[in-house]
């Protein structure tokens, strides 16, 4: 149970095993029929009992957007806040209440556009937050404008002649922002999604999980190549720590490091089999993870890595903050209000 989750070591444990049903609320779920969010919600609800912590010590915080309705459907504590600010609000909560498991649910517009600043600073601070970024590469709730992850030239209501701005790569951004845990998964692959959630929950510090999520109304099929049985094996790279990075039918293809240090994708042969890059999620330096985050073909999404790209240990902000409080008390004693008020130069009037 939660011994497995060092990031939850201060969170009270549940007295009895829980079920997915206990994490469902009585609220009617109001996403569009066919939305990828349903699958993610079901996967998360089914996963939560695995943590073995008390439901009342779990909090979901979200911003604004379709994905941000998520907390209303989780029978935990929850805050549906304002656009882009969920990481900031969650930071205040997680850094003052280390007995809570705090999750942030956000989208590509919420996290990367209006809330970009809060996201990068949460990542560099390494607050004990688990951030689930539902990336559908479109604005859904405002009815279909291009988002910061939309491909260049995207035709939308606000870009009838095509969008002009280059998209963010969320994982590259996170690695550049000193993130200690960076992973990607897909809404429709429940088993993989839960395995990534598990790894994120185990991680001490901020975990960023990008979830490719289909918006069947405004950007349908954006990740179809990664899901379609006929194409997915060729398109997806399933990363596993300590294993050679191979993919495709019969694992015929692999990732290699070229003479210039760049990563390339190529056919695996008997001659080069030993040269296939072995995935090291715990590598101290971010360079290989960064390169992996960009190895997919931007146009076709071919050879898109999923799984944990990077997981490294670094001191956790809320722990450091608590340590400073403890140190202050150890050095100077518990604060004495009367002494504080009467400090400095004083004088008496009779």
């Amino acid at each position: 149970m939660s011994e497995q989750f060092p990031s939850l070591k201060l969170v009270p444990k549940a007295e009895a095993p829980q079920s997915a049903k206990e994490f469902k609320t009585d609220q009617e779920v109001r996403w569009c029929p066919g939305c990828g969010d349903y699958a993610i919600l079901a996967a998360v609800q089914a996963f939560m009992p695995e943590l073995g912590i008390r439901r009342e010590n779990t909090v979901f915080v979200s911003g604004i957007g379709c994905s941000s309705r998520f907390p209303y459907y989780m029978n935990t504590y929850g805050v549906h806040s304002i656009h882009g600010r969920a990481p900031a609000i969650a930071t205040g909560l997680a850094s003052s209440r280390r007995d809570l498991s705090v999750w942030v649910v956000t989208g590509d517009g919420d996290a990367l556009s209006i809330g970009g600043n809060h996201l990068i600073h949460a990542l560099r601070r390494n607050v004990n937050l688990k951030i689930l970024l539902f990336n559908n590469r479109i604005y859904g709730l405002t009815k279909g404008q291009y988002s910061p992850t939309s491909e260049i030239g995207k035709i939308t209501k606000s870009t009838p002649m095509g969008s002009l701005d280059a998209p963010f790569n969320p994982l590259s951004l996170a690695i550049g922002a000193e993130a200690t845990f960076v992973a990607r998964t897909i809404d429709s692959d429940r088993q993989h999604l839960q395995s990534v959630l598990r790894a994120a929950a185990e991680h001490e510090g901020t975990a960023l999980v990008e979830i490719y999520q289909n918006c069947n109304i405004f950007n349908d099929g954006a990740f179809e190549v990664l899901k379609e049985p006929g194409t997915r094996d060729e398109a997806l790279i399933r990363l596993e720590h300590g294993r050679p990075i191979r993919f495709g039918t019969d694992l015929a293809r692999g990732v290699f490091r070229g003479a210039d240090g760049e990563l390339t994708v190529g056919e695996v042969t008997a001659d080069n089999e030993s040269a296939v890059l072995v995935h090291d999620a715990h590598a101290a330096g971010p360079a290989t993870a960064f390169a992996l985050s960009r190895i997919a073909d931007a146009d076709t999404l071919h050879h898109t890595p999923i799984g944990v790209l990077r997981q490294v240990r670094r001191p956790v902000y809320d722990e450091l903050m608590a340590d400073q409080l403890d140190t202050a008390v150890a050095d100077r004693g518990e604060g004495d209000l009367a002494a504080l008020l009467a400090g400095g130069d004083t004088w008496s009037v009779d």
Binding site: N57, G92, L325, A328, L341
Partner: protein, 659 residues
């Protein structure tokens, strides 16, 4: 020892804000030598009050010099009031008018309210300081100048064609020409310091000289310098040597014939310390945390003139205080709100531009109905405005600056020391009513200081968080918006409480259950209920100071104008005028008796450091002809100026009667 200064008038009739002649003030005219009292060979004069202004270049250490003189004065037991005034630039171009930094201190043997209208003594460290400050100086005042800085080049830099020290333009002032730099270098020639380093101690020489002139105790400053430069003992000793040399210079040379004494003030009994508004506010927040049992969580982003609160609270982690320097203003308040959701006393500190950025989150806090303190240390606006100068032009921003109907209670302290009580009051309202609360201070209160009677901890009000601990419905359910019928406050159920799991958000919610609701009637009801909750907050009735009961003119202020308004009222009354005074500390909701008070007078004058924001609210709410008197100069009102306004109001009424 006898004083020739009329004490009774000074106490009852005057705040002593007029610059008297000579190096001391006093409405009764020039100070008079006290017969037999001599220190050494020099006579001592007794004064009831003095206003000193230290002025120099931004790099001359004038703020430190003023702070030290203030500490000495406080420990001596005078009543005092201070006004630091400095440019926004850390080091504006040396020797220029925009680079002048000054510190004014008013101290007295009686209760005073303002840093004084006009200095009795100006210490000018360079020509720019003289030129920038001379217009404020009444004839007969003393000027101490550092002659070493009056070079041709320095004079030309500020547009002096001729040397004002020699061209007769300063006749009518008591001019003391002191080569402060030369004397400091002379005093430190054995110190081994490079000339440039030694020169920097000249502010301590000036402090020593002034300390001698006004009989200030010196051990505090020496101890301060030893602590401040603990890691650089050579610098500490040099500063102390310069400080002592300044003192000895006054004692032994012919330049200064007399010294002055201002006896301690007769304040109400108790133990006192000198305190600035920002320090008092910081202590008030810690006290509120202790009195409520809620851990203090400050989410803040550096901004002048509020940053000192972040600095101060960061020093008190042993009180369980968490300070979070956020990536921006929005994250500062966001983190504070998140902490409040978790059961902390969430606070964010900022100034006007920061409030603008936080507005959406304040609206969220209104909707979530969570306790949150928003501390706005107002400064000159709009936009970046005058970062280091004071103004009270954020009242309407605090009142209305959000989308939708989003009422927020507002508390405003009147003096630096009152910032302590205001923090406790704001926390009481926030916690009791589950609402964000604005605390409106300003740059003048923040940096100004005055003696503060240190309260006993037991005297401080207790604040009851009254967390929800169990279901509030008979069927065992928990409704997060089921309100207390008296206060209309909703239950505060913090994560970790079993059975009370709930979701709240910025979308309109159904009364009671808190579930999302777009129902028109429900929205109408919720908007009105949130307003009714704030309108129903219990705040103390307004007290009116109207000693004779005959006044027909009422002067009403809010915030830091309290000092100059009260000083002006004293002046008018001392000269036989009738004027009533009252001061608002709760601006939303207003005290219940405000309407009655306003209607009890023929004329209501509202002085504000804005273009009439409170007056607008009073006119709208009470349909009274409140008349504004406004100034937005980045500086507090002067008592003499407001006294003229009050006399004019009294005069106008008399004229109308005679028509």
């Amino acid at each position: 020892m006898t004083s020739q200064v009329d004490q009774s008038e000074a106490v009852d009739g005057s705040d002593g804000d007029e610059g008297g002649s000579g190096p001391g003030g006093g409405r009764s005219g020039p100070a008079v030598p006290v017969g037999p009292q001599h220190r050494g060979a020099k006579p001592i004069r007794r004064l009831d009050r003095v206003i000193i202004r230290f002025a120099g270049d931004s790099g001359d250490g004038m703020q430190l010099t003023g702070d030290r003189f203030t500490s000495e004065t406080a420990s001596f037991g005078n009543d005092l009031s201070t006004l630091p005034n400095f440019p926004a630039e850390i080091r504006a171009p040396a020797g220029t008018l925009p680079g002048v930094s000054s510190f004014q201190l008013h101290f007295a043997d009686h209760d005073i309210l303002t840093p004084g209208d006009a200095p009795n003594v100006l210490v000018a460290m360079n020509p720019a300081a003289l030129k920038a400050n001379l217009p404020d100086l009444p004839r007969g005042a003393s000027i101490i100048v550092n002659t070493d800085e009056f070079t041709k080049r320095a004079l030309a830099k500020v547009g002096y064609g001729a040397d004002p020290l020699g061209d007769g333009s300063l006749e009518g002032y008591h001019l003391h020409k002191v080569p402060l730099t030369t004397l400091t270098l002379e005093a430190l020639k054995e110190s081994g310091l490079a000339r440039k380093d030694a020169e920097r101690a000249k502010n301590m020489f000036a402090l020593g000289l002034l300390s001698w002139m006004y009989h200030r105790p010196t051990h505090g400053t020496e101890a301060f310098l030893r602590t401040k430069f603990a890691k650089k003992p050579q610098i500490a000793e040099a500063n102390i040597s310069a400080f002592r040399a300044g003192w000895n210079f006054g004692e032994t040379t012919e330049t200064f014939a007399v010294s002055y004494e201002v006896p301690p003030a007769k304040l109400p009994p108790g133990r006192y310390r000198n305190i600035s508004g920002n320090l008092a506010l910081s202590y008030g927040l810690i006290a509120a945390s202790r009195r409520s049992g809620l851990p203090l969580y400050l989410g803040s982003y550096p901004i002048t003139p509020a940053s000192d609160i972040l600095h101060e609270l960061s020093r008190h982690k042993n009180f369980g205080v968490r300070t979070f320097q956020a990536e921006d203003e929005i994250a500062g308040i966001g983190a504070a709100l998140g902490a409040a959701f978790g059961g902390a006393l969430g606070v964010t500190t900022t100034s006007g531009p920061g409030v603008a950025l936080k507005s959406e989150t304040i609206g969220l806090a209104v909707s979530l109905e969570l306790p949150l303190l928003v501390v706005d240390i107002q400064r000159g606006g709009p936009s970046t405005g005058l970062p280091t100068k004071t103004e009270q032009a954020d009242l309407l921003q605090a009142m209305f600056g959000r989308n939708g109907e989003a009422p927020v209670p507002i508390v405003a302290p009147a003096t630096p020391a009152e910032c302590f009580d205001a923090a406790l009051e704001a926390a009481r309202i926030a916690v009791t009513y589950r609402t964000p609360v604005f605390l409106l201070s300003d740059g003048y209160l923040a940096n100004g200081s005055e003696p503060w009677r240190i309260p006993e901890v037991d005297e401080l009000p207790a604040i009851e968080p009254d967390f929800a601990t169990g279901p509030n419905r008979e069927d065992g359910a928990f409704w997060p918006y089921l309100r207390d019928p008296q206060t209309l406050a909703r239950p505060w159920a913090v994560p970790g409480t079993p059975g009370l799991e709930h979701r709240i958000g910025g979308i309109e919610k159904q009364d009671g259950t808190g579930n999302i609701s777009y129902d028109p009637a429900n929205h109408d009801f919720m908007v009105r209920t949130r307003q009714a909750k704030v309108d129903g907050i219990e705040v103390p009735d307004l007290e009116v100071d109207d000693p004779s009961g005959e006044a027909r003119v009422l002067v009403l202020g809010w915030g830091s104008t309290y000092g100059p308004i009260t000083a002006a009222v004293r002046r008018v009354r001392a000269d036989g005028g009738e004027v009533a005074q009252t001061h608002l500390r709760n601006l939303n909701p207003f005290p219940a008796n405000l309407g009655t008070v306003l209607r009890s007078y023929d004329k209501v004058i509202v002085p504000e450091m804005n273009l009439g924001q409170l007056a607008l609210l009073l006119r709208a709410k009470y349909l009274v002809d409140a008349q504004s008197y406004n100034q937005v100069r980045g500086l507090p009102f002067k008592a003499a100026q407001l006294a003229d306004v009050l006399w004019a109001a009294i005069g106008n009424l008399d004229e109308e009667d005679n028509r």
